[in-house]
Symmetry: C2
Subunit: 96 residues, 2 copies
DNA sequence: CAGCATCCCCGATGATACTG
DNA sequence: CAGTATCATCGGGGATGCTG
């Protein structure tokens, strides 16, 4: 997730760099999500008025409070995905 | 969320009861989601072969391990939603 | 570089009706 | 009671192209 990508970066990250850190996300969704997160006050956006412009994103203090609960979830997923997969196979009734 | 509704219930809950505990969710989505959760091994389903049938749902042990991280997130939301709302108003550029 | 603007499509979900 | 089947919609998101 974006918040994790921004957290990993530590400080500010530029748009393109963020895209590399969030593999699979399209430019459109990246831009859109960043706008939402900025709107919510979770992400700060800083524009350097050069040509071409350089835009830097970072987590706000509020955004950083989200890291822990989010990581808890991610860790749950990592720890239990194997178990879940095994259970799915055991059922062997491929749902849908 | 369903997991929370099941957690609240403590033990087994029947379909209709679950629907009451998860307001806003349609019968279709409830049934579908329950099947997925069962498939993943997070939810156990027990059918009493009476007429009409009585189906009982409950969290498995695996399902219960998900409660904590999920609640952490929910609590984050409850604690910070006010802040987020305030920030949105301060921006006053109604996004979209 | 960092986005918008468009067009387009498919899948997720709701509404409704039927059943063992 | 506890679903399933069918139909219709609607909007999220991808692809592409343009621009300050």
């Amino acid at each position: 997730m974006l918040v994790r990508a921004l957290a990993n970066a530590g400080g500010e990250v530029r748009f393109a760099e963020l895209q590399r850190r969030a593999p699979g996300i399209s430019r459109k969704m990246l831009a859109q999500t960043l706008r939402e997160l900025e709107y919510d006050g979770l992400v700060a956006r800083r524009v350097e008025p050069t040509i071409p412009p350089a835009v830097h994103y970072s987590l706000t203090e509020l955004g950083r409070t989200l890291i822990a609960p989010l990581d808890a979830l991610r860790e749950w997923a990592e720890t239990h995905m194997v178990t879940v997969d095994e259970h799915r196979k055991r059922i062997s009734a491929p749902l849908v």
